[in-house]
Symmetry: C3
Subunit: 345 residues, 3 copies
């Protein structure tokens, strides 16, 4: 597939400087691009690469265009434009509709004629696979579960019973949707399981990274809003709600019944304990632990940054005596105060 620079400019509200007839075949980085490729400037610290890149064209913001001699596609937001150009040039692989002979599909499942069910897939009773959905190798779609139109399960994805995936979703290998929530009642020394009877409902345009797990609700449902982007190896517990267009990085854990607002971002390895309310537009830094509700938009943190271990060890050791240190400071302040008063008198 090749698209001229002029056509890209027309589609994505840009302006060509240079050769509008240049046929662009691939999106690439400044480092690896060749004469058929289009690249973009991801960070102004790489401005010098504009002189050395072999890219046929580069997507740039107006102020940076002067740094390049060759063809340029000038747009307002180069990163966003590059994303769209790359989507156009590199669509998800096409597939033929149908089902592989090795797929095991319940007679009571409804699979759209335009969908694909891959090898070694299992589709259980009453499940529904909608138009143009792609169910890759080795997936399991549980009883009465649903996969929406144009959604893509890359392979080795598990959708539990009665859970549903919206339209235009992308689920990577190892994703588990609808495992049981972690719910037990104390019974003397033992734990009695509280059956997990809710479902997981994913909105539209959700992406779920490899090996991420989302538990079904205990009684009601776990809800993931439309446009939510989840990185790899995230854990979302039962009854969590996540608002539209929130993006969450790897290893984030969200405990039961917590509500996260819209347009939030949560950095890697952050944790959020259960039964909290986090409003819209909250940003949590990597490695932070949120233990109380957040009622005001903004950035929150409890991250510590690594330093040379020997230095850190001394600082951390003091932290374990900080309460005592604070009391010693208070004593000194009081003595000073008393001393001052005596001398003022």
């Amino acid at each position: 597939m090749a698209v001229t620079l002029a056509e890209l400019a027309r589609r994505f509200q840009g302006r060509v400087r240079g050769n509008p007839d240049l046929a662009i075949k691939r999106a690439a980085s400044l480092d690896s691009a060749g004469p058929d490729d289009i690249a973009y400037l991801s960070d102004r610290k790489f401005l010098a690469k504009l002189a050395s890149t072999a890219a046929g064209a580069v997507i740039l913001a107006e102020p940076d265009a002067a740094h390049r001699a060759g063809s340029v596609l000038i747009v307002e937001n180069p990163h966003l434009c590059f994303a769209r150009v790359a989507q156009l040039l590199h669509p998800a692989p096409a597939f033929r509709p149908g089902a592989h002979a090795s797929a095991v599909i319940s007679p009571s499942a409804r699979v759209a004629a335009s969908a694909w069910v891959g090898p070694h897939v299992v589709v259980e009773d009453g499940a529904e696979i909608k138009d143009d959905a792609y169910i890759g190798p080795g997936c399991l779609v549980g009883a009465r579960a649903a996969v929406g139109a144009r959604s893509r399960l890359v392979g080795h994805v598990v959708i539990g019973d009665r859970c549903s995936v919206g339209e235009d979703c992308l689920l990577h290998p190892g994703v588990v949707i609808g495992s049981d929530g972690f719910g037990f009642a104390k019974d003397g020394e033992q734990w009695q399981k509280v059956p997990q009877l809710g479902h997981v409902i994913l909105g539209h345009g959700v992406e779920v990274g490899a090996n991420t797990t989302i538990d079904r609700g205990a009684l009601d449902d776990t809800l993931i809003g439309s446009g939510v982007k989840l990185d790899n190896q995230i854990q979302i517990a039962h009854n969590v709600h996540i608002g539209d267009n929130t993006a969450i990085a790897a290893f984030v854990g969200i405990a039961g019944s917590t509500r996260i607002g819209k347009r939030c971002t949560i950095g890697g390895q952050a944790g959020i304990t259960g039964h909290l309310e986090i409003v819209d537009d909250v940003h949590i830094t990597a490695g932070s632990l949120v233990t109380t509700s957040i009622r005001q938009a903004g950035a929150y943190s409890s991250s510590l940054k690594a330093e040379p271990a020997e230095k850190w060890r001394r600082n951390a050791a003091r932290l374990h005596h900080l309460d005592e240190m604070s009391q010693r400071l208070k004593v000194l302040e009081e003595k000073w105060q008393q001393h001052s008063e005596e001398h003022d008198n």
Copy 2:
């Protein structure tokens, strides 16, 4: 399935107030329950919902019963009673014994006549699947591994060679039991693998959450006690022992050869380093890092709580100078001490 309120009271040592003949069909939340459903009060902060719920009946402790006009099942421990009622009304799905045509079962494996082996399952040489066990779609039961009576592997579970799962266990998708422990010997600049020759042995009534991994022992075995409950995405390293009825939340990592006692609870994202001994009845808060043995029951923590990032940044920056700050405090104290002595003289 429907059970009268009177029958529930009889089975679970409760007392009915209201209509004993009410037929209960489902367990539900106060918010979503209808006239055929039974709910319970999970937290007294929701007392007001007792007036508004459409639930046919509610499980309550004696002191709360006055807050509801309709039918009530009065018990000592509503949460535990609700768990048992829900177990009764919502048993695990029934299955027919046998094996799906697509399952690949070694001729030397022993599969009980009452067990089910699902589609695309692989059961290797000498493995044993015991009475009424359920092996869901896409599982792998390795050579000479064993799955105990009534245990349920939901689907996509891997049981490594010679590992064994006890009776009445529940393993969720993506669980890996018996991957190699992380054992290497330094060989100049390289690492030589130490073959991992032990097994993993799970007791009875163990639940293992989605994508949790438990490594086989290096030479001896990794042991998970009966009644242990493991959430999703936990990592348990080689030769770890976990005592009966310990419950562990998501993302907890336990390093090699550490022993955890009975009835412990470990909060999400906590880490425990290797070769430690943690006694019975220890509770570790979410996000804590345990680096020394714990010889006394109780709660332990090193968690930090997120606050507005700008404020946190200032506090954290000071932490990186805490040792210096402590020394400055000491200097002041000494000066004061000297000053006082001089003035006392």
Copy 3:
């Protein structure tokens, strides 16, 4: 398989004290070893076990040999020697070449005659499985992906399209190589996906633990050096490079485009943010968060150690006022300074 102690000494540059003709059949721990087994002393704190072990032979360093009466294999580095002896006595299970009838192999895939493709495996178009490679049950080898000679995919491993695994690698169940990187461009309130077009390239002798995920590069490639050892449940983001012989423990997350040097070690649950450079021979302690490049070899940390929760709570509470506390200390110092100057005058 049995090997005499004399033969082990010859192969691994050791010296026998005791019976050179002793036939050794297994590697075992001091605790569990019997008369046909060889053990080693993993830590000098277990010296007393040398008197009680039933092991036929023990691998010891010269200074420890006097603590044992029975047969001894004396070597310079007992741990390394034990690793090699165990490798010799316990090789990976042999397999017959070929493919299971249930495997789905594209006609355009190239599978070496000496390789094994297990049950329910899928090998897609143009993929290549090289000499003596073992593809265990339920693996997926994507289109144009490659698995190098003698590499072993234990089972349930996913190798994404066009990714490649070097020679002599070992990949455990649940590993996902080549999931999409987490790349999106902000588009008003929504996120536009940036197609992830790069690959993952694993060097030779790489081990990857269960449920570890490695994302494909956005435009260029994610590179894992030879001899790298990755524990379970690690997440490596797009475009990361990891140098040869670096070893990484469970739950470590490495964000996009970060470069890690050679021979580094990274403790469990550590996090490394994106676009950093970490030089060779850097060691990061468990639970640390690295947010700036590290340009000097050595140990780095930001880990906190759990203490009794009540004590910790008081210390942590003070931390949230540390900036204020630091300012109060400064005020006192200044007052003192002023006071001293006044009294000196």
